[in-house]
Symmetry: C2
Subunit: 113 residues, 2 copies
């Protein structure tokens, strides 16, 4: 009974009693998670570009072409597979990889020029 | 002396002695890292869309507009700051966020319709 009263007293908290205020609280929580996930994305992209820049330097040194259609096709197939596992739209994953590859090729061309 | 001989014998390894083969090995190692980082990106994006879909449902329920310019401006400012810390081109980070937000808005419009 004491536990139930405690629960009810929490429910009466002004921050959660009103449905609109409750929605605003939920929205805020989701946005905090999104902000943390964006930090993961930015730092992971930073690490990824560190590797593609090393690849770009190796390619420039050995006079290899900046883009590699076979490697890109394998990456797209792998990402579509990963996307299904992660419950992500495979079409979006493909667009996403193309978006990143375009940036990588832009970097590689800078090294060559 | 024995240590030096061991090192030299490793240098004579056919996988690493030829500069072109050594470059191919390095390229392979970088590509393995890129593949692992892509898995992080895909799963993190999956988690991020889970939260933006929850936000979309909350917005639809409370009849809020799908896009929120103030929130987006704050996110872009935050990402530009994070990008500098992660040694990433802030211009790319902004394009990247716009790319993801466009996909999120597409999801939100689907809920509303």
């Amino acid at each position: 009974m004491t536990d139930n009263q405690n629960l009810r007293s929490e429910d009466r908290n002004p921050e959660t009693s009103d449905p609109v205020a409750r929605a605003a609280d939920l929205l805020k929580e989701h946005r905090h998670s999104i902000d943390r996930l964006d930090a993961i994305l930015v730092y992971t992209l930073g690490e990824r570009f560190k590797h593609t820049q090393a690849v770009g330097k190796l390619k420039a040194l050995h006079d290899l072409p900046p883009s590699d259609p076979n490697r890109e096709a394998a990456q797209i197939a792998r990402l579509e597979d990963l996307s299904k596992q992660a419950n992500l739209d495979p079409e979006f994953a493909r667009k996403f990889l193309n978006f990143i590859i375009a940036e990588v090729i832009r970097h590689h061309k800078q090294y060559k020029s």
